[in-house]
């Protein structure tokens, strides 16, 4: 009667070596999850403060191209004040250029210029901005797009700063 059942050979289970997670251990691990969530929130605060400090610095003027690079009704992406910070240059008329930060003020999706309606469109959540001044026309964005001050030096276009 001491014969070993066949399944014990096929599926040997060592109860001693088996790793149990007790309810107490699980509850303790929940506290670690809570700690991680708190740290993530803290990291967001730190990143926000860092960006704010960086934004307070006056950016260096930057040449963004020639007036001939953008056709009338066309647009072009450039980086300002530094790499990884895309902005959108729009040529409204022959002599009118405007530029805005390309990040939508809702959740940071890139906005695109729509020539036919003269609007900047965020395709993520259907946000619309006026291409003349960057103000919100429709959709969830809470604030206008930050506008870049431009200066024309001959045929060259320069981004000077963000307009407050």
């Amino acid at each position: 009667m001491d014969e070993k059942p066949a399944w014990k050979d096929d599926f040997p289970i060592s109860w001693v070596d088996d790793h149990f997670v007790t309810r107490r251990e699980f509850t303790k691990s929940l506290v670690l999850v809570s700690c991680a969530a708190f740290c993530a929130n803290g990291a967001l605060v730190a990143m926000g403060a860092l960006e704010k400090a960086r934004g307070a610095e006056k950016p260096e003027p930057r040449k963004i191209g020639s007036v001939h690079d953008v056709p009338v009704g066309g647009s072009r992406v450039f980086e300002f004040p530094g790499p990884g910070e895309p902005c959108l240059l729009v040529r409204l008329d022959a002599d009118r250029f405007v530029a805005f930060a390309q990040k939508c003020t809702h959740l940071g999706c890139p906005v695109l210029y729509r020539k036919e309606s003269r609007q900047l469109h965020c395709p993520c959540h259907e946000g619309f901005f006026n291409a003349e001044d960057g103000k919100v026309i429709a959709g969830p964005p809470p604030r206008p797009l930050p506008r870049v001050e431009l200066e024309r030096k001959g045929d060259e276009l320069w981004a000077m700063a963000f307009r407050k």
Partner: protein
Amino acid sequence: MGDGLPEVMPTRRVRAERARGMTVVYAVMVSTMILILIQYLLLMVALEDFLSGHRAIQWGAAAGSGFCFAGACWLIRYVVGRRAA
């Protein structure tokens, strides 16, 4: 009882204490889960706020998350303390 049960069977009092202990563990577990859920919501709100560049409620969300974490730490002492005892 005379039904042939072994003598090592826990007494009623021990069983009641054990049941009470498990109730505490469950209560702490559920409470901590609720706190984590609140923290998750706060994190989502803070993340949306960060992405939109608004930065208006990040400090509040972080403080709320800190309170939840403190609450979870306060609750866990019941579980840890009981184990030690």
